[in-house]
């Protein structure tokens, strides 16, 4: 491992209307950003159940990005506000697990903000890289049950 830089593994829950399209635009516009993030499409940022985030950490993710439409722009009118309200609760939960809050990031990325998407992924990758690997098993314990099991 020594010598080779740590490559964090990131999962991104992107809302289908704004952020996923924004990510698409970043790709279509040939913007460069680190390949560390695996995007998962959800219909709305309001669909992101906190268990998704915990599940991702448990399965080996070092960081999780939740991205939705800008406030007021939600395709489902208020889904992103619900995501915004769940976010602090999720952070409290992570505190209890001993996971750094910086490992979860909530962002508003519109369909036209390909550049912002690339920038967010760049920054987030660097943040998580600086935090180092999550090491779920060491921290939470191998026996800890995971959601969905």
């Amino acid at each position: 491992m020594t010598g080779e830089p740590f490559e964090p593994r990131l999962v991104g829950f992107l809302c289908r209307w704004c952020s996923y399209t924004g990510a698409d635009l970043a790709g279509m516009s040939r913007m460069e950003y680190p390949p560390n993030l695996a995007p998962i499409k959800v219909m709305c940022s309001g669909r992101v159940d906190p268990t998704f985030v915990v599940k991702a950490f448990r399965d080996g993710a070092d960081g999780v990005l939740i991205a939705g439409c800008h406030p007021g722009d939600c395709h489902y009118s208020t889904g992103n506000y619900k995501a915004l309200r769940r976010y602090p609760l999720l952070l409290n939960l992570l505190d209890q697990f001993g996971i750094e809050r910086e490992r979860v990031r909530l962002e508003w990325i519109s369909a036209s903000e390909g550049e912002k998407f690339a920038q967010v992924v760049k920054e987030f990758t660097e943040t998580v890289r600086a935090l180092g690997p999550l090491c779920w098993k060491e921290r939470v314990g191998a026996g800890a049950g995971a959601p969905g099991e």
Binding site: I40, M43, R47, D49, D59, A61, D73, T78, K82, G148
Partner: protein, 596 residues
Amino acid sequence: MVKITIDGRKIDAREGQTVLQAAKEAGIDIPTLCHHESLDPYGACRFCTVEVKSRGKTKLVTSCTLPVAEGQEIRTRSEKVKKTRKILAELMLARCPNSTVIRDLARKVGVNRSRFRRPPEDLATITDQEGCILCGMCVRICDDVMQVGAIGFEGRGVRRKVTNPFREPSDTCLVCGACSSVCPTRAIEHSRIRPQKPEVIPFEFEEGMSGRKPIYMEFAQAVPKVPVIDEDTCMHFRTGGCKVCEDNCSAEAIDHEMEEKIEEIEVGTIIVATGFKLYEAEKLSRYGYKAYPDVYTSLEFERLCHASGPTMGKIQTRAGKKPEAVAILHCIGSRDENHLEYCSRVCCMYSLKFAHLVREKTGAEVYNFYIDIRSPGKGYEEFYKRLLKEGVHFIRGKGTEVTDVWETEEEKGKLVVISEDTLLGVRRRVPVDMVILSLGLRPQDDADQVSHLFSIGCAQGGFFLEKHPKLAPVDTPSDGIYIAGACQGPKDIPDTVAQGAAAAASALSLMDKGKVVLEPVRAKIDEEKCCGCKLCVANCPYQAIDYNEEKKVSMVHPELCKGCGTCAAGCPSGAATQENFEDVQIFAEIEGALAE
């Protein structure tokens, strides 16, 4: 119908008409000074006097106050009438010997000088003593029609005159200009009523380069083609009076009681085509817009060279002079990181059009200051080539400043455009008579609100975002809502028409189908698992979930559900799930994404 005879001609007049009105309709000219459609007949000037014969007797009566009656015999040109008019003309001439209107009228009836003495002069009046014949039209229109009552009569006999109350400048006068507009001898001097000039209402369509009335046609191709009334300037809405336009409309189509109303129309599809706004020239002060009258925005110049514009298509400076040299400054506001970063796409071509029109109409020298000429379009490059042959000057370099500070004799009294010529590597100073700023296009001020209203989203810069730049250029993320034209991005007329047609076709094809295909993504609630906490009911933004009191569980109305999945994320018992985005499916995705 009432049968009367005027000068031997049999005429059918309408009941209630006056002889003057009946004669006018029949094309018989009776001279008058104090008649107005909106004022009650008054018989002040007495010039419309006619001879009436009834029951064997004749008498002289003013025709404006004489109602028509069956069998009336009227003579408008008899010796008696002519003699009366002569005396009247002499009397008026004695009072107003220098008024051109009165002198012309007197000459018409054969009077050149008056036998009578001029009344004593008194300048404390609002009218030019030379012209006032004391017909009182100004007083009556101000009082009876406009319902302002700022002016009135003072004195009697030879001392009678029109004045302000107490001969003081009036505070009541609204400077509407009605008095001067009705005055038959153009004798009113406005500044004596109130030291303030009647304001010209700037005509919006002509970019304020000409004035309009409070009732006006918005523009020549307005649909529907009917006049509109501007409530802010219409005298009726200021005083409750006036309605002169109603008196003049023979179709009786004007209704001042009509109110603005909001109509709700149920539709299946919507095409958003809200257009663009021209970038503000005021934001680029170095080009001297407003500071120098002969610096024009592109839209102002468009009106100036248009055949129906304020000058009827004559290209001239504000002083009315034919220009000898005209500068067109490209990319003002566009391709400028301090203003609009993007290229506004249409400016190059409209600038070339202006250059061509100026050459054609005035023969003036035209200087184009440009960064790059962007002419990608059918026939566009050819047009550019044609202009090069027409002798239009192209200076490669963005105009940096417009000033009237002259350095050489040649620049004296001209506007000087300063620019770098990047092809020659020199600084240029070009003296011109007119400067046209080719301003960029920006989104409408309320583009944000409109995009929220339709949930269609704005791209960078604020133009509406299409669903896909290549595959769905007129669609939006909201089904049934389409976009067309410059609200989606700067574009010229051919492109706008093409996009409009595409949007209309897309809307039609959706309506023709008569049904909407729903996403296969919907929420469902497992009755077995539901604990009846109603969290999902509160979470749902569409009121698509109802609580069933009988079963004590929540239930989804599938036709209302749009499939956002917020209920599924918030369900504590795992009863609410989202079809095709179920927890297990997303978990599997996470596992797949993180698999070694």
